[in-house]
Symmetry: C2
């Protein structure tokens, strides 16, 4: 655990010319439903539509000249792959993204359009494929979350929240492997120790709830979730100690409440965030987090990776 | 034409305790598609989900004690009715909203939930019904746009835009009767004469394009538009001279381009605005407005009156 506030501040300076400082939106319309003063950090407005750009760009900028000349690689069909491809393109660094051969055409096209090379693999073998291509071509592997420079980049969002609203009482953060909440909680607790940081993860893959209870990293069974970006099975070993030290509670959110949170964000909040971000609102709707009417609570919306067709799932949901 | 900058500044002070100062969002992701530096004023985040709240609240606050004690009335099934009902409820003023008997249950429920009394009428007779009820009960009629205090309220959004980005080169505004663009252009031109103000209206009901060409108010034929909030047939007589004096160009936008603009706003901009707001992006996509790559252009998104079902219309639209 060597990540400090100074590292995160340096990351913020480093990525500033490239990243968007997303606004902190005050969504009064949602106060009643969520029982608190609602603020939203809409990372769907970030470059490539997700907070992942912060970490990927910080990582690239901390590589040596020699490493950047070799090029980078990642196995990801989601927001990390998009973010890395785009960040690499901005810096003129060669990027290879390993995609499962089941990836949708739009994902393939987007990543190719950003200038990255695509290597296809079966979904089961994509991490091995990435490792092999990485070795064979002498590339630098950029992990999606389990890395302190990635965490420092994600943590910059925490600095922004407190700059935009220093009186923030709590931040609710979507959690998968733990890179975002690890970096963000390190930033928030260093600047404002009284601000609470809560994690929200799908109840069907409760890797942090289980691990924190056990006091060590626990692997959970694979399961699909409507929060399709939050399906890691085990906390990252680099992330875990930061999360254990820097958070004030975890919510394992039922699928039904993830959908309700998503419907609230989209139809009442008017922000087209992804379900993996709206899980933060689901956590409060399910009554899993101690928020009060006078609390200023920031709901972290991780990104906007959602198609119009996916929204059909919301039509039958009751708020 | 007696509306001055000072009136609009007073309106801003008056409504400040009640209205949301909506942010000005910088949406870099849309720069390429729209060929300029894209800013969005998302009035879908305003109280009751539309800019209409500004005008309605300012009007109520400028009534005399005696008038407020009598109560207010409006014929509107859209954003104006919602805004007036809610603003009246906040101030403890009795409100009657005349709705067509075809109004959807959700609209009826929302307005009733805000505490207003509802009077039903046929769609053809709703204005006569409102006039009659207004007379019979001694209420005060609150028009949706053709009124200088309503225009002053809407104009407060123009002051905010220039405060949030003083270098704004152009503002593109959705237009129906002309209350918004009348008030907003008065504000913008008084504070920053070099900032251009452009109007966007549906090509199927081009009441301002025709009227400005003719140099007098022209009534156009009724027509449905996907921009369902922009279907006035003739410019308001109070609004028209302000619009003629304060705007730099008008775009009559084809339905196809309104849909494209809407798809861009929702799927790339991640903001769930209504099609009547997204017409501003449609105007630029259709090539109707002179914007340059280095121009800072604010697209005014009037509100968020849209259901999930309506979004189906976007699924086949090509960007």
């Amino acid at each position: 655990m060597s990540l400090t506030l100074s590292d995160i501040r340096q990351a913020a300076e480093r990525i500033a010319p490239y990243a968007v400082k997303t606004p902190l939106l005050r969504l009064k319309n949602l106060d009643k439903a969520l029982g608190c003063e609602v603020y939203v950090k809409p990372e769907c407005l970030q470059v490539t539509g997700a907070f992942k750009f912060r970490g990927a760009m910080n990582k690239l900028l901390t590589l040596s000249e020699e490493e950047r000349a070799r090029g980078v690689i990642a196995a990801s069909s989601g927001n990390h792959g998009k973010a890395l491809a785009y960040a690499a393109g901005m810096l003129g660094v060669k990027a290879v993204i390993v995609l499962p051969d089941t990836a949708t055409k739009i994902k393939v096209d987007t990543i190719r359009h950003y200038g990255a090379e695509i290597v296809f693999s079966t979904i089961e073998e994509r991490f091995e494929t990435a490792e092999r291509v990485c070795r064979e071509r002498g590339l630098v592997m950029v992990p999606p979350f389990n890395d302190e420079q990635i965490m420092a980049g994600q943590g910059t969002a925490g600095l922004e929240i407190l700059e935009q609203c220093p009186e923030t009482d709590a931040v609710v953060v979507p959690v998968s492997g733990g890179g975002l909440i690890g970096g963000l909680s390190a930033a928030v607790k260093a600047v404002s120790p009284r601000t609470k940081v809560f994690g929200a993860e799908p109840a069907v893959v409760p890797r942090y709830s289980e691990s924190l209870k056990a006091g060590k990293r626990v692997k959970v069974q694979a399961h699909r979730s409507v929060a399709d970006g939050l399906i890691s099975l085990i906390p990252g070993d680099v992330c875990f100690p930061y999360v254990a030290a820097g958070t004030d509670g975890f919510a394992a959110v039922e699928e039904e409440f993830i959908l309700k949170g998503w419907k609230l964000l989209v139809t009442e909040g008017k922000i087209l965030g992804e379900p993996s971000g709206a899980i933060t609102m689901g956590a409060v709707l399910q009554g899993l987090l101690p928020v009060k009417k006078t609390d200023k609570v920031c709901f972290f919306i991780s990104g906007g990776s959602v198609s119009l067709e996916q929204l059909h799932a919301l039509e039958g949901v009751e708020l």
